[in-house]
Symmetry: C2
Subunit: 472 residues, 2 copies
């Protein structure tokens, strides 16, 4: 088994270095599965496993009846490398700085490259607002729902179960707890599986909200190196969880924020197995899972969970509207504790909003909307990458996101994005300084750009101004 | 000042013992203010202070141009006495038991005398559901609201400010944080003003949710004797907060749950002053404040707060619909911390629901609805008291609530309402066992009855069955 694993990984590595070396160029076809199998003396399934990994990493794409092709990669800029991270878990203190960034970044006249928010023009807000009226009229007894214990609407839970049918084992309806946002779901899960003072593994860099959550709950962050393509290092996780000091992992495996990395299925499988064996709960935020750029939907870690050890959280804030404030968690064997914390935190969840989303999902509109939205976000990310390549200092590195709509930019070491932040706001451009993505003060030469808006001349100009500031 | 205080309190005491002794009977007029002033050699304002205290306690009512009259008190049953409480703060452990009670109490076929929930027939659910449609149609850009930082709708905050205009100093719009329920508001306030391990003063008995909140946040409860008429003992609070060990008070001053007590204005004033001087934050739950039975609306402690030290929480769950999940806090000088915890806990609050409630309040419908609802709840509470008097064992005591819709019943010492609970459910009657209202295991001979439903023959029969069970 271990041997087989190495063989497919070696093939994947060989193919990716052929692509990286320019010997297979974007749009060109890879050798056929049969030929690779024959020449490398590998089984067809091992070859496919290697190709799937490359697909997960966004390097190749499958075309029906034609084989595998190298994907078009926009700019030649190098990706940032995964950083080595501190070996000690550290207490967290980012909230107040972050609040200031989000407040100033939302000012009128400031280009919205800070908070990870989609342009409202890209969202089906009219359809959702009409559904509010129609749902409230057709279900006149919805507001009778009264219990703190269970106000989850069966119609919504059913749609969530249906969306997991493609996985190895679909989710059970009674695993779900409906929440007021993914944010609430993540906090409830942390409360359910940790005690104050515990250590929680996060990606490095990690979404700043994760650090805020750890901070308010008095938890310590253990930052694990994270690859801009394949996400959290499983090897480092293995080492970090050996001594039994880690209570939970808090991750964004699909289109991670800020890196846009996509954890390969095989890594997810290993992570699920490893954490289950060691009694480490896995809280995964799959809010970008529907917003992949590849040809097939990525599965969450939950799809590989046999022990009920993974708590899958998500919402509709990145795809329908951040204002809905509707999320959920499929909590596995922690369902009872999560539901208890939900009861004590905010009681049930508004049933009208639940049914609005359930009906939007049921109508098929959601899937149609997503098909178009994925392409739009991919285009916007590509346009932002091209703009950064044009306007930022020459030594700039940036990610090539595999989904979502944020871009992570690494500048030369001497640039301090925290120190420059106020000048950027004064110049009418927002971003999120890199250090807010680390509990240990890393990434001061990095920043995150929101690509949720159509790439207008105004955005292009904002990137230009930011580039000038960074070069100065 | 101290001298004057004693004189009005002595007059109030004398009048109340005349009423208690039957020398002034329900419906009879009290001596005029002028006569009392002359005979007791007191200023008119001192006499009025005494009469206002009696009014606050529900003993007398003012009738325009006619003077003060003894209120009709339904049953001759004695009220429970305030209990002496443990002098030590204790850790809390009630959640799992409570969840079970709420689950079993909500079963079909079980008379709903458990959870404090109004009958849906009493609530303006049709009007609210229609408003969802109309608001979503007339404000087509509502779902564009996107920031985690501030999604509070100005129209709702404005209505909340307007409702405080009658107080000495009305609230400021920028004090408010809109939340997903009063429950969420209380938890955010506790997180803003306490650290794990801190001691929090609660009433005794106290609303079970308060104990659940303390439990999940790792806080200790210090139970303070609470009078069924006048609420928390200010004298006991004075003693308890002398050594600087108390971080916060968590109270329901108006129509407290479960006692239905109403803290007199003078007590509120003293409490606000005492806690401000000693740096003890006051979190008050005013969810029943609009549901008073007396002739004038009680003010919250917040109305007496000069230091920004009181955090006023409430919602519309007891008056409009528990399913809305919309609450708020006016957080005084803790506004920034509360807003931060709200951002990290669940982001903003759904703007459509906010505007639905804002428009319902603005239309004047809310005040009309409340005028009728107060009388309905008062009648239902009276009917429940009469039924308990008919069917419960002779030595039973019960409260005479001054607002809200729950009744607290004290049975002979040997009755164990926790032990009897399963038999009551089997007999088709729910209640909440008394011990869930105490962190230190008191009140096992007490229970709380929900009077939120019209007193039908089915309810009467449920009370009868419960009375038989308790007598057996």
């Amino acid at each position: 088994m271990e041997h087989e694993l190495l063989r497919y990984e070696r093939l994947a590595e060989d193919l990716s270095s052929i692509i990286a070396g320019g010997n297979l160029r974007p749009g060109e076809r890879l050798p056929s599965v049969r030929r690779l199998s024959r020449e490398r003396q590998l089984s067809v399934s091992t070859v496919l496993q290697a190709l799937h990994q490359l697909e997960d990493r966004g390097l190749v794409e499958a075309r029906p009846q034609s084989g595998y092709f190298v994907r078009h990669a926009p700019a030649p800029h190098e990706q940032p490398n995964a950083r080595s991270t501190p070996e000690e878990a550290v207490p967290v203190d980012v909230s107040q700085r972050l609040i200031r960034v989000l407040q100033t970044g939302g000012r009128p006249g400031v280009a919205p490259l800070g908070a990870a928010l989609p342009a409202s023009t890209l969202l089906p807000l009219g359809a959702l607002q009409r559904l509010y009226g129609s749902v409230a009229r057709r279900h006149p007894r919805l507001l009778e729902g009264a219990s703190h214990i269970n106000m989850d609407e069966a119609a919504l839970t059913r749609q969530l179960v249906l969306r997991s049918v493609g996985w190895a084992g679909p989710l059970a309806a009674n695993e779900f707890v409906i929440t007021n946002s993914c944010t609430e779901a993540l906090g409830l899960c942390l409360r359910a599986v940790t005690q104050r003072g515990d250590t929680v593994v996060v990606e490095s860099p990690t979404y700043h909200l994760m650090l805020q959550l750890l901070e308010t709950l008095g938890l310590k962050a253990l930052e694990i190196p994270t690859d801009p393509r394949t996400g959290l290092s499983i090897e480092a996780l293995d080492v970090a969880t050996r001594d039994g000091q880690v209570s939970a992992c808090l991750l964004v495996p699909n289109a991670s924020n800020p890196l846009g990395s996509m954890m390969p299925d095989e890594h997810k499988r290993r992570l699920a197995k490893l954490t289950a064996e060691r009694g480490v709960a896995v809280i995964e935020d799959d809010i970008y899972g529907d917003l992949y750029f590849g040809s097939k939907p990525p599965r969450p870690i939950k799809a590989f969970d046999k022990a009920g050890n993974v708590l899958l959280c998500s919402s509709f804030s990145k795809s329908l509207s951040p204002a809905l404030r509707l999320g959920f968690v499929a909590a596995g064997r922690y369902r009872r504790q999560v539901a208890l914390h939900k009861t004590v935190s905010s009681g049930g969840t508004n049933p009208i909003t639940q049914l609005v989303v359930a009906e939007y999902l049921e109508s098929g509109s959601y899937d149609r909307h997503l098909r178009s939205l994925r392409r739009i976000y991919e285009r916007q990310v590509d346009a932002m990458r091209a703009a950064v390549a044009r306007h930022f200092p020459p030594a700039t590195r940036m990610t090539q996101p595999l989904g979502g709509f944020v871009l992570w930019v690494e500048l030369p070491d001497q640039v301090d994005t925290t120190a420059l932040y106020d000048r950027a706001i004064a110049a009418g451009v927002a971003y999120v300084p890199g250090e807010l993505f680390s509990a240990s003060g890393m990434y001061r030469n990095c920043l995150r750009l929101n690509c949720g808006n159509p790439h207008t001349p105004a955005i292009e100009d904002a990137v230009r101004r930011l580039g000038e500031l960074l070069a100065s």
